[in-house]
Structure formats: structure tokens, C-alpha cells
């Protein structure tokens, strides 16, 4: 168990990149980019976890109860917002590209070459 989450992180990163590289559809490629980014959430929350500790909310539990790291959770939240922002922008590019090229296959979206 001790390193399982980190192996999962590496696996998610690997399949995400594989999806990007073999993709024939831009929207598919964007979704694979989301998968690549999801590996960072698992990694962030994985490194900040403490066995047997509670979530860092002290509303109804006493202070000084051992809690997991709140900082990585804040970082992961920022990360989620970044993901949403980048995805929205990429989708806008894809929609316009489809209008101009008539296809979403990255192999045919080549105006610039060489």
C-alpha cells in the first residue's frame, strides 16, 4: 500500500500521454490532457495524507486532533480551477479550428509545416 498511490499516479500520467500521442480527434486529445492533469491531484493529495488523521475541519471536532495536510488540498483546488480554465480555452480553439479546417483530426490541422 505504501507506494500504491504513486504507482497509480505514474500510470494515469502514462495513459494520458499515450492518449494524446495516439489521438485522432482534438476533443479526445483535450480530454486526455484532463487525464494527465488528474494525475497531479492524486499526487498532491497522496503526498499530504496522514494515516489515521481527519480532514482539516475543526468545526465539530476538538483542535489538535491530528489532521491531514490542508496545504496540498488548497493547491489541488487551484489546480482544478486551472484545469477548467485551460479546458474551456482549448475547446474554444477546437470549435473555431473545426469551422476553419472542417476536421478535428490533428494530422489534418496542418497549416504550418517545415
Amino acid at each position: 500500500m505504501s507506494y500504491l498511490p504513486f504507482f497509480v499516479v505514474a500510470w494515469i500520467l502514462g495513459v494520458g500521454l499515450y492518449g494524446i500521442v495516439t489521438s485522432r480527434h482534438l476533443v479526445h486529445q483535450i480530454i486526455c490532457l484532463i487525464v494527465v492533469q488528474s494525475s497531479t491531484y492524486v499526487l498532491l493529495l497522496g503526498v499530504g495524507y496522514v494515516t489515521g488523521a481527519v480532514a482539516p475541519y475543526f468545526y465539530d471536532i476538538p483542535l489538535h486532533t491530528p489532521a491531514v495536510d490542508p496545504v496540498v488540498q488548497a493547491l489541488a483546488l487551484t489546480d482544478v480551477v486551472v484545469e477548467a480554465a485551460v479546458t474551456a480555452l482549448l475547446l474554444a480553439f477546437a470549435i473555431q479550428a473545426h469551422k476553419r479546417f472542417g476536421t478535428l483530426d490533428p494530422h489534418e490541422l496542418v497549416e504550418l509545416k517545415g
Partner: protein, 255 residues
């Protein structure tokens, strides 16, 4: 590169890279053995210093508040970018004007879905409002609240009323509201500077009861502005996408 060559090169590369990556990951302290100190220090001091019982919100809006300023402006820049890229171009005009996306007009959405969507608008909006205004106490905050609030507007659209969606949230207005939200956050920080403190210093009274709605000073206020900005940004993005789908006809090149 041919697909086969690319796949070969990629597989060699990724095998090497993942081996390398795991070499580093397996030298971490191991899952569940976070060594600190940053998070533990924050857990110990946050409630006392800010009167916010949700420590993650305290980190997001106070200890690492400046990250959140940057994050809000990433969303702002992305929404501006979407509006830039999907703006009405010379060779496009509005046409069609069908009311639904998935299928032909009037056959796509059943009355049951419309009714259900409309019924949910109120509760969803209320829930979003609740989340945005309880950052300091519970696992919630401006960001989540803002997205949920935006969802309420999307539901109106799902009820088959795109034109009313646009009427309730015209692009100019959402743009302005979103910008005010983003600017509001940055301006709260600046208020502290004007008062002679460091940027983002929590200058409001913290309240006396940890976890109360009015506690924790600027944290609650910032969370509120973030909620407004996020909701407006999402409504703007969804609106632009829906408009593309429903209204724009292109006379552009097609190969």
C-alpha cells in the same frame, strides 16, 4: 512521422520516463507518512489566528491568498480568451435560432426534463449561494459555490430556454459582473495596503466565535467575491459555447 514510428518512439520514451519518475516517487516518505512541517503548522495555528474552522479555506484565502488572486485571473484570462476566440466574426451571422442543442428544435427535450430542470433552478442557486458564503466553516467556498450557481443558470438553458438564458445573463453584463468579482478580490487585498498593512492582510474583525458565518474577517468576503467571479466566468463560457452551437452560421472556408 508515421503513426507507427511515433508510437514506437513514444513507447520507448514513456518507458524510460516512467521508470525515472518512479525512481523519484519511491523515495518519497510513503503514503500516509507526510513529514510536515507546513501543513501541521497551519493546522495548529489557523483556527486561532483566523477564526475559520475550515483550514483549507483559510489557506486558500489567507495564508496562500495570493495564489488564489493568480488563480482567479487565470480564470478571467481564460474567459476573456474564450470570448475573443468565439466572438462574432465578419463572415458569420446569427441564423437558425433553434432552442435546443441535442437534436432538432422541440424534439430534443421532453416536457418532463424541462419541468424538472425548472423545479431545480431555485434549490441549486440557493445551494450555490450557501457554499459561497460558508467558506470559513465547512468544506466549501467561493469556487465551488460559484460553479454551482452557474449550474443553476445552465439548468434554465437545459429547460430549453436558451433565449431566456441569454436574457437573464447577457454577455456584457456577465462580463462586467465577473470582472467586478475578480477586481473585488484584488481590491480587498489593496485595501489592506492603503490601511498600511501588507497586501491581503486580514484587516476586518475576526468575530468571537470560531466558525460563525460572520467570523474570520476578509476570508468570508473574499470567498464571496470569488463566488461571483467564478459563476460569471462559467456562465460566460457556457453562454459562448451555446451561442456557437445554436446561433452562428458560418460562410467560412471548408476543405
Amino acid at each position: 512521422m508515421t503513426p507507427a514510428l511515433r508510437r514506437g518512439l513514444f513507447l520507448v520514451g514513456i518507458a524510460g520516463f516512467l521508470a525515472f519518475y518512479l525512481w523519484g516517487l519511491t523515495r518519497l516518505p510513503g503514503f500516509g507518512r507526510y513529514p510536515g512541517p507546513y501543513g501541521f503548522v497551519i493546522n495548529r495555528i489557523a483556527v486561532g489566528e483566523t477564526n475559520a474552522t475550515g483550514v483549507v479555506s483559510a489557506v486558500n484565502f489567507e495564508y496562500r491568498g495570493f495564489d488564489t488572486v493568480g488563480e482567479e485571473f487565470i480564470l478571467f484570462a481564460a474567459a476573456t480568451g474564450v470570448a475573443t476566440v468565439l466572438r462574432h466574426l465578419r463572415d458569420e451571422q446569427e441564423g437558425g435560432g433553434s432552442e435546443t442543442v441535442f437534436g432538432e428544435p422541440s424534439s430534443g427535450t421532453t416536457d418532463a426534463v424541462r419541468l424538472a430542470s425548472l423545479v431545480f433552478v431555485g434549490p441549486v442557486a440557493l445551494f450555490g449561494w450557501f457554499l459561497a458564503s460558508h467558506a470559513q466553516t465547512s468544506p466549501s467556498g467561493g469556487f465551488q459555490g460559484g460553479v454551482v450557481l452557474a449550474t443553476a443558470f445552465v439548468l434554465i438553458y437545459l429547460a430549453g430556454q436558451f433565449l431566456s438564458f441569454r436574457r437573464i445573463s447577457p454577455a456584457d453584463l456577465t462580463d462586467s459582473v465577473g470582472s467586478v468579482g475578480a477586481a473585488g478580490f484584488a481590491a480587498i487585498g489593496l485595501t489592506a495596503v492603503v490601511l498600511g498593512f501588507a497586501y491581503l492582510y486580514n484587516f476586518l474583525p475576526l468575530g468571537t466565535v470560531p466558525g460563525a458565518v460572520s467570523s474570520s474577517g476578509t476570508i468570508a468576503l473574499i470567498s464571496f467575491f470569488v463566488g461571483i467571479e467564478v459563476a460569471a466566468a462559467f456562465i460566460l463560457i457556457v453562454g459562448e459555447l451555446v451561442e456557437q452551437t445554436l446561433l452562428i452560421r458560418t460562410a467560412g472556408r471548408q476543405s
